[in-house]
Symmetry: C2
Subunit: 305 residues, 2 copies
């Protein structure tokens, strides 16, 4: 196995230097220059081998891309502009670890470039399995949170549901495989939506479960009309596509609560689907073509079960 320091050099190679970076990777700490009048928005999320990915199905480049994507999706839900990130790697004591790390970096750097987010620091440790834990930092004047949804708000989805779960099936549709391995964080859409929405969350654990987090945090309820949900192409091709859209997870779509009077303005700038509304009360109920539809037994993903 290569030394820690060779591996770090190999990992850093494909990344460019970001803006506002005073001290980049290589010192004990990074230092950056936050913009005036902006809040600093921070999130951390990990992908772990055997839990979130499997190197027989994912290329190392996919792993690097996805590790950053899931964090950028959180920034998107807050309506924040990605600026910088730190990356902690867990590396198994195996042959060719440096080659795998190099490829993880390559996938991560491709998304970092696209999204204007610079790697400023990190850590490596040996561990039983590969893991990539990223902390992403962004900026927003008025960051969105899960709280803030009001009765009467429209419930809106940006992006597609069900494809990431469809991508885990044998011989998946191309759109499902892509959604699972190379999810596209809706950063631009989140930045635009933040001007209109009262609350937001991204769909990481399953639409229903994440919507429940949003309504619980806001102290409201919601009703969802299932026929309005924007199923992805892979989900639409499966008999249980609606189930996957409701509970599948990892779609990295955005769920927004939007005051009615702002809905038309939002629609002009972001392609989105109105899927229901926020109500007084609590919990989520489903309808299908206006008729009550029972809730699925399992709402989404629990990372410890």
């Amino acid at each position: 196995m290569s030394s820690e320091f060779d591996l770090i050099d190999a990992f850093l190679a494909p990344f460019g230097r970001g803006t506002g970076v005073v001290i980049g990777p290589g010192s004990d700490c990074a230092a950056v220059e936050p913009a005036r009048g902006q809040r600093l928005v921070a999130t951390t999320d990990a992908v772990v081998e055997g839990v979130h990915f499997d190197l027989r199905r994912f290329s190392p480049e996919d792993v690097g891309w996805k590790a950053l994507a899931v964090n950028l999706s959180d920034l998107a839900a807050a309506g924040a502009r990605p600026r910088w990130f730190l990356c902690a790697l867990g590396i198994p004591r195996k042959q060719r670890a440096e080659a795998v790390a190099r490829r993880i970096a390559r996938g991560m750097a491709a998304l970092a470039r696209q999204s204007g987010c610079a790697l400023i620091g990190g850590n490596v440790s040996s561990a039983s399995e590969w893991s990539v834990t990223i902390t992403a930092l962004g900026e927003a004047k008025r960051p969105l949170a899960r709280t803030g949804a009001r009765p009467g708000d429209a419930l809106v989805v940006v992006g597609r549901l069900g494809d990431a779960a469809a991508g885990l099936r044998p011989l998946p549709h191309a759109s499902g495989a892509r959604a699972q391995r190379r999810p596209r964080p809706l950063v631009r859409e989140g930045l635009l939506a933040a001007r209109f929405a009262s609350a937001a969350i991204d769909v990481s654990d399953g639409f229903l479960q994440d919507l429940r987090h949003l309504v619980d945090s806001s102290g409201v309820g919601a009703v969802v009309e299932c026929s309005s949900l924007p199923l992805g192409r892979a989900a639409r091709s499966l008999p249980d596509g609606m189930e996957l859209a409701l509970t599948g997870g990892e779609d990295y779509a955005l769920v927004l609560a939007v005051p009615r009077r702002k809905l038309a303005a939002l629609r002009k700038v972001v392609d989105c689907a109105e899927v229901g509304r926020i109500l007084r009360g609590s919990g989520v109920t489903l309808t299908e073509l206006g008729q009550p539809r029972p809730l699925p037994r399992r709402a989404g993903f629990d990372h410890l079960k």
Copy 2:
């Protein structure tokens, strides 16, 4: 095993709310209000079961304390004031995981309170072993880095060397056990030293190895007089204490390069030892009572070996 969301609630319980926190734990992202005219300083570091700790020797409270301490030590080396942190947990699928997580949180919260650093977000994932990956955020007007040491600077150590390694020996001296399980990050000392030092690093991987990082990054060399090194009490009680001080790691002392003219002023505010000087050239040489001393075969810890 308890659900992800119960475990998160249990983990968050002992932490207070920090200052400058706009959105705390519980949304997709945290949001904070950085102070004007300060650089944001960021670092990430992980502690992994079986690599950095062993639950037969460490209590879960020790693990939580140490995971935060190693990050605060990096902020200390940058001369930054700790403000906020995020914590990603890797949790094995075991009985009583929630109880262990609760105890990790308790140890971490004790140090968070002492150091004025607030937990603002995190993540949980199942994994093969326990791991705690923290990203700490601080603020500094003029953060120190490894670069910046100049020939002629005095080489200064704040804190004690060798005790953490001594603490891994059977039946360790109390001072060694404490240094290993509850290292005290030198935050106050780092803040004071930043007014005088030209470069700094903390001793995480071993004094010699970390000093080499500092001189390599600064493009200089250094000579160290071993008899001036501030050995801790546990290291002093061992026949190979000097070896441990040079290569042992995890001491979380600070190594500073300080312009000669500022040394007296630094000594007035921080208890420190002058241990050598920065030279033109490259590499580190050792003397003992003025005579050359050979370098140890191994300079410090490699996280992948």
